[in-house]
Amino acid sequence: MKRILSVAHNTFMEAIRDRVLYSLVLFALLMIVSSLVFASISAEQYNKIVKDLGLTAISVIGILISVFLGIGLVYKEVEKKTVYNIFSKPIRRYEFILGKYLGLGLTLFIITLGMALILFLIVLYIEIKYAGLINFYYGGHFYAEFFNAIYFEYLEFLIVIGIALVFSSFTTPVMSALFTFFVFAIGRFSSDIRLFAEEVKNPVTAVFSEAVYRVIPNLEKFDVRNEAVYGGTVNPDLVLYTTAYAVIYAAALLMLAIIIFEKKEFK
């Protein structure tokens, strides 16, 4: 465990020194703050615009960080041959993979938390300033749903890091980025596959579609941004099951990454 934490610590330190990270976070903050400008021309839909734009900014930037830092996690060490130094120490390959994952997961946790707090202050300002209007139009402020939406976004990041890590352990960063993006896009439209499975008459195709739907990451399940604006179906059961799904799926991805990495030969 100590060795895993040590790799995680190094990964975290390396990530926060990355310029790409800072520019992405800066862009997210710019989007969050600019939501105030857009809200002012939204015909009184202040809270909706601020929440939609802010939550989307956090999600997009979080996904980009997960992909772009995730694809370099293993490949960079192999390419720079620093992996030999690491394995000359008593660190096992699975510990290396787990440490890398935890390091980036922690980095994203801190970044997401920071962005969420800034967004929350802006949301709070809007919700207090236009309290009567927002109550009239939307029937409440839905702060719990707001934080839940961010929590679910973070769970999605953890899965995307896992996907990037799997590809990073056997292919180049460019290919990893492409593959990760494709899997992400398919995951975002998982319900289309489900609909297809329900529609087709051929039982073999239906079973195949259903199997694909169950195996691909169902990233749509992490989208509760709508509830942050209108309130709705976010209850403890949903939080529990979604968390369990994310943890199990991320664990499966980590195992796959470990299996691939264990078989990799370093020349």
Binding site: F38, I41, S42, A43, E44, Q45, K48, I49, D52, L53, T56, S59, V60, Y137, G139, A185, R188, F189, L219, E220, D223, R225, N226, V229, Y230
Partner: protein, 355 residues
């Protein structure tokens, strides 16, 4: 350094070409064209971030329609816009409300596309079955424009049943349904609704209001009965009786003239061959005068002077406002002064003697 200058020069040279390209392309591309994308393709492009796309379309719609005169706007485009917005975010209730109302209302407030506006609101009702504002908004549209009071009452009642309607608001919405039914001719159902409000409302003011409405409807029912007797008398004798007492004395009113629940007397309005209650007529007259004087003032605000005559005021109310020109409860013509813009009545409660 020389390289940087060369880059700057090249960029500067490219600008006139860009301007020329914009000129050429501008002739072939309209704003409308660039907006006609299906919501299905937008949904795919959005990668799941549909809310933000819906917001962008919302703001573009507001800017597009805010920057053009009503007569220059394209109702098909407006419907398409709001259809996309609500496909991407089906819970965006205000998009259905604003879009539906703006489409359905006639000029100068809206585009006069009633069917399109109602279609948008119906889509909203389907996607948000618990929301009371959407049937309420649709009810107002039916009430004011095609003046379909039965449909309006049905929608008011639907709104009153929704879970989001709080106690006092529920009574108001039920009241609107009752008023629409009374206006549409279904007085029995209207009375039932006012009775429910009277018996269940926790607010004393609202109970009093419901009671007053119940009394008014009951008075109108007596008026109808006496008017039928009056017309039967006229049919037989070829002239109107001198008073309602004479009508009763001739045996046309069984059990004599009843007392009006709201007070006042029953009198004959010879201009419309009807019997009217003085208290009820006085209340209606007060409302009618208030409406007409406000409309005359509004006419002046828009055109710089008061209407020339009652005909012009009538045309203005009918075509350019959401209301309708109220009839004089005694069937008389209103008295209008074009210099002051004041509408008055010759008949006044108190001056009318029991006939």
């Amino acid at each position: 350094m020389l390289g940087l200058i060369a880059i700057a020069v090249l960029v500067a040279i490219s600008i006139p070409f860009q301007v020329r390209i914009d000129d050429i392309r501008g002739k072939f591309r309209s704003v409308e064209e660039s907006l006609y994308l299906s919501s299905a393709s937008l949904r795919k492009i959005s990668l799941g971030y549909t809310e933000i796309l819906s917001d962008i379309y919302w703001m573009r719609a507001i800017q597009y329609f805010g920057s053009r005169k009503i007569e220059e706007q394209n109702p098909d485009l407006l419907y398409h816009y709001f259809d996309i917005i609500t496909d991407l975010d089906p819970r965006f209730v205000n998009a259905y409300r604003y879009g539906g109302t703006f489409l359905a209302e006639p000029g100068p407030f809206g585009l006069g596309q009633f069917d399109k506006g109602v279609a948008l609101l119906e889509k909203g009702r389907k996607n948000n079955p618990d929301n009371f504002r959407l049937p309420l908004e649709e009810a107002f549209l039916y009430y004011f424009y095609p003046k379909d009071y039965v449909k309006a009452a049905e929608l008011f009642q639907e709104a009153a049943r929704k879970p989001g309607v709080a106690g006092s608001r529920e009574a108001s919405v039920k009241g609107m349904a009752a008023a629409a039914l009374a206006k549409g001719g279904d007085r029995e159902l209207s009375k039932d609704i006012w009775r429910i409000i009277y018996e269940t409302s926790p607010s004393e003011g609202r109970r009093n209001f419901a009671f007053r409405n119940l009394q008014e409807i009951e008075t109108m029912e007596i008026e109808d009965g006496l008017t039928a007797a009056l017309r039967a008398y006229r049919k037989k004798y070829g002239k109107l009786p001198g008073s309602v007492k004479e009508l009763a004395a001739a045996g046309y009113v069984e059990g004599g003239i009843p007392a009006a629940p709201i007070g006042g007397d029953f009198v004959i309005a010879p201009d419309i061959d009807a019997v009217r209650n003085t208290e009820l007529a006085s209340r209606k007259l007060k409302e009618a005068l208030a409406v007409l004087n406000a409309k005359a003032a509004r006419f002046r605000k828009m055109y710089g002077e008061y209407p020339r005559d009652l005909a012009e005021l009538r045309a203005f109310v009918g075509k350019e406002t959401t209301g309708e020109f109220p009839e004089h409860p005694m069937g008389e013509e209103f008295v209008y002064n074009p210099a002051s813009g004041i509408v008055e009545s010759k008949w006044k409660y108190g001056e009318s003697k029991e006939q």
